[in-house]
């Protein structure tokens, strides 16, 4: 199948080229979705559709900032399309769980989510590895299979939506995700990212706080181990007045993992009274891991407050010693500290089963990867 190679823009404002963070390369193969499976375990009242969406996406495309035009067009023409419609006024505690499983080497999913006015809901999207092995004839030259997921969410006035995007793929596959959303007046959207696997996951998020008093948040937990290379580009755009944003990320890096985490808060002129905060903390558990953080604040409005913080370090030696003096092995002590480091983000995942799987994945990675003294 033809491949489309392209460059994903990753920085809202370019900086020194030698840093290697302005762009990232991506490959997309669409049209191989025949055996792909997408199922939704949705509470009564939500409408799940496959194929043609029950509603059309109109207006600005929030994913346009994450993809070059040819990438968006490829997904428009070749991705398997799904839609989840949350009616106005819907209120439910149980999250809808959407499970995506590619059927062949590569697959692309395109998911629309509409949260109607005044609704309150949560949607968890899980990306699973394909059941089938690569077809005969594939060679190493074809590289690691890559799956694409584009999610676009329309959060209506006074609606509240939690959107969880989770993947724990094996290192034999990888994925690229582009998640965009427009949030209306008094609306609220929280995106929770759990990036725990895959060879080279690429995740882009663009939230547009369009309406007055709209709120947007991204909580991200990520795990780098082995040779994994993680690439994040998160952006929240303040357009409406009195909008609020928060980006919070907690990560653990082991082995030879490499991570680029770019997060941007962009206060446009007219977003008076808005506030935003970015906060990333990284626990480094390997001397060979590489941690790149790029917290960006862009400001064209004077009546606002924006702040960011980024920090990186290893487990505190005294705390480790204390735990080990209480009978814990070093591995177990490190696991406890790592769990504590990511806890506040993991707790924001609405699905209990998913929360537990994140914790187990982290423990397993530390147990298998070890901590080099």
């Amino acid at each position: 199948m033809p491949k489309l190679e392209m460059t994903l823009p990753r920085m809202p404002v370019r900086t020194w080229e030698r840093l290697g963070i302005n762009d990232t390369d991506a490959v997309i193969e669409t049209g191989r979705n025949a055996a792909s499976v997408a199922t939704a375990d949705a509470p009564a009242g939500m409408i799940w559709r496959a194929g043609e969406a029950p509603f059309a996406w109109t207006g600005e495309d929030p994913c346009a900032a994450l993809l070059p035009p040819e990438g968006g067009a490829a997904l428009d023409g070749g991705a398997a399309r799904y839609a989840l419609d949350i009616p106005a006024g819907f209120a439910g505690e149980t999250p809808a769980v959407v499970t995506l499983r590619p059927g062949e080497r590569s697959a692309a999913f395109d998911l629309l989510v509409r949260a109607g006015k005044g609704s309150r809901a949560a949607v968890a999207v899980r990306l699973l590895p394909p059941e089938e092995k690569a077809p005969a004839g594939d060679s190493a030259e074809q590289g690691v299979p890559r799956h694409w997921l584009r999610v676009r969410a329309d959060v209506g006035a006074s609606a509240s939506l939690t959107l969880v995007l989770a993947q724990s793929l094996p290192d034999s596959v990888s994925h690229t995700a582009a998640a965009g959303a427009v949030v209306g007046e008094d609306g609220e959207l929280k995106v929770v990212l759990a990036e725990l696997g895959g060879a080279a996951p690429q995740t882009g998020v663009n939230l547009v706080l369009a309406g007055e008093r709209a709120r947007g948040a991204v909580d991200a937990v990520y795990l780098g181990e082995g040779e994994r290379s993680l690439d994040f580009a998160l952006r929240i755009e303040h357009r409406g007045r009195k909008t609020l944003s928060a980006i919070r990320a907690r990560g653990v890096l082991l082995g030879n993992a490499r991570k680029i985490f770019r997060d941007t808060l962009d206060f446009l002129p007219g977003s008076s009274g808005s506030k935003g905060r970015e906060d990333e903390r990284v626990l480094m558990l390997s001397p060979a891991a590489r941690n790149i953080s790029v917290p960006v604040l862009l400001c064209g409005e004077d009546d606002m407050e924006g702040e960011h913080a980024a920090s990186s370090g290893r487990p505190d030696e005294k705390t480790l010693f204390y735990l080990m003096s209480r009978g814990l092995s070093e591995t177990r002590a490190v696991q406890l500290l790592a769990q504590a480091a990511v806890a506040e983000v993991v707790e924001s995942i609405p699905d209990g089963e998913l929360r537990q799987s994140v914790r187990e994945r982290l423990d397993a990675a530390i147990r298998e990867g070890g901590r080099t003294a």
Binding site: V13, R14, P269, S272, V296, E307, A309, G313, T372
Partner: protein, 468 residues
């Protein structure tokens, strides 16, 4: 409480915006050609190796594209820039011997007075050449060298040839290559081992000719356990044509040495300020950057510290004020290349009347930099919504044994803070003035006193209630 706009007066440039007649001893043609480069070198009586380096740099310049990031540089056309303007008189060590019109220029800027009162040495550059250089006798006896760069090429050729444009090679970027081709003037400072220079050395750069460029080169070597404070200042009258400043500063801080490098930049608003500064710090050495950026139309300036030796330290303290028509893209870079190195960054910026202020930084912690520590605090004050302020830091950490922290804040003057001060008896204007002075104070207090008198006059803080 009624919200009222904060007003900060423009920088008072009147005392800098005077111009002398464009008389000169020699001026090259406009543009950049091997013949012009050779002409400059011949006029300076340079050794062949320097001419060869200039020509090689020109070749690199022609092959290197403009940066694809940062502020727009469309207004810069090198074909319109005169790269070398030699004033009358040659270099003097007695102010009385400096040509009258040049002496008057520096008298108005307060340079001779500063030298008399509080400096160990002064260098004054007018257009492309140093016209005055002097240093206290006691420093000469201690073996301190402070001279112009051209003299250094001739008299200290072994050091210069070894170090010149090695820290900032012409391949670094297009304007480093330009500098390598057309550099002129600047200072060479050498502080021998163990010598502590008690009073600052100062170089002042004045660009008078319209459409000209200034490309001074500063090379400082501070030997083991020595210390010195170097101050540079610059200004130019405003013209309607573009002037260009593409200077280069290379600092070598040896084991246990300390170098404080202070800059007050007040170029006129037709100036493109594309300067490159870099320091190499060895074991237990320390570099302190103090940077005030107030002028120019466009600035790209990122003083860089390479912490090569164990225990090396870097501090960066900077302030910028971007007003109407200005795009000031400033910041710093630090490379931690050795164990137990530390870096501290403190940056403040103010944007008003449509000015654009960008803080851009990069902190690299290399694999061998175990137990390195780095912290950065960056604060920006927006005074109206016509202006912009962006913060674009990057941290690249390649060891688990490093503690790195970065924080930044952007906002306006806090209504809560104003209210609190007013409850203590201050008027609203007094409260806002105190807050803004407090915002700039951590930087202002680091400025050298003899320059602070002049620099503090640059910023006139006036707050009044005006609606809208």
């Amino acid at each position: 409480m009624e919200k009222r706009k904060t007003q900060i007066d423009d920088i008072d440039r009147e005392r800098f915006d005077f111009r002398d007649a464009d008389t000169n001893n020699f001026k090259t043609g406009r543009g950049l050609t091997p013949d012009i480069i050779t002409e400059i070198s011949v006029k300076k009586n340079e050794p062949v190796w320097m001419l060869q380096r200039r020509l090689k740099a020109l070749d690199i310049y022609n092959r290197t594209p403009l940066p694809a990031w940062g502020p727009p540089l469309d207004e810069l056309n090198m074909d319109d820039i005169v790269t070398y303007v030699r004033p009358d008189g040659g270099m003097k060590s007695d102010w009385n011997e400096v040509p009258e019109y040049i002496k008057n220029t520096f008298e108005r800027l307060g340079i001779p007075q500063a030298e008399r009162q509080s400096l160990a040495g002064v260098g004054a550059q007018y257009d492309s050449e140093v016209v005055y250089h002097n240093m206290r006798e006691e420093l000469l006896r201690q073996g301190v060298v402070y001279t112009d760069m051209e003299t250094a090429v001739r008299d200290y050729g072994d050091i210069v040839r070894r170090l010149f444009m090695k820290l900032v090679p012409p391949t670094d970027h297009k304007f480093a290559a330009l500098h390598g081709a057309v550099w002129s003037g600047g200072s060479f400072v050498y502080v021998p081992e163990g010598v502590k220079v008690e009073y600052p050395l100062q170089s002042y750069f004045r660009l008078n000719a319209p459409g000209a460029g200034q490309f001074e080169h500063t090379l400082i070597v501070v030997e083991k356990n020595a210390s010195v404070h170097f101050i540079e200042g610059c200004s130019a009258p405003k013209y309607n044509v573009v002037n260009l400043h593409a200077g280069c500063v290379e600092l070598y801080v040896r084991e246990g040495a300390t170098l404080r490098y202070s800059t007050i930049e007040n170029w006129s608003k037709n100036m493109m300020n594309l300067n490159t500064k870099r320091a190499l710090v060895e074991k237990n050495g320390a570099i302190e950057w103090i940077s005030g950026t107030f002028g120019s139309h466009t600035t790209m300036l990122y003083p860089t510290s390479i912490l090569k030796g164990e225990g090396a330290r870097s501090t960066f303290t900077g302030i910028s004020l971007a007003a109407a028509g200005q795009n000031l893209d400033t910041g710093t870079k630090v490379v931690h290349a050795a164990p137990r190195t530390t870096s501290t960054i403190s940056s403040r910026s103010i944007a008003k009347d449509g000015g654009i202020s960008v803080y851009r930084s990069a902190v690299d912690i290399l694999p061998g930099a175990v137990d390195a520590k780095s912290s950065a605090v960056c604060e920006s004050l927006m005074l109206d919504r016509q202006s912009r302020t962006d913060t674009i830091p990057a941290l690249d950490i390649r060891t688990d044994r490093a503690d790195v922290g970065h924080e930044a804040r952007i906002g306006r003057i806090s209504d809560g803070a104003v209210f609190y001060l007013m409850t203590r008896g201050l008027t609203e204007e007094q409260a806002k003035a105190m807050i803004v002075r407090g915002f700039a104070e951590p930087i202002a207090k680091e400025l050298p006193l003899e320059y602070a008198v002049e620099m503090n006059r640059l910023i006139s803080l006036e707050l009044e209630g005006t609606n809208g």
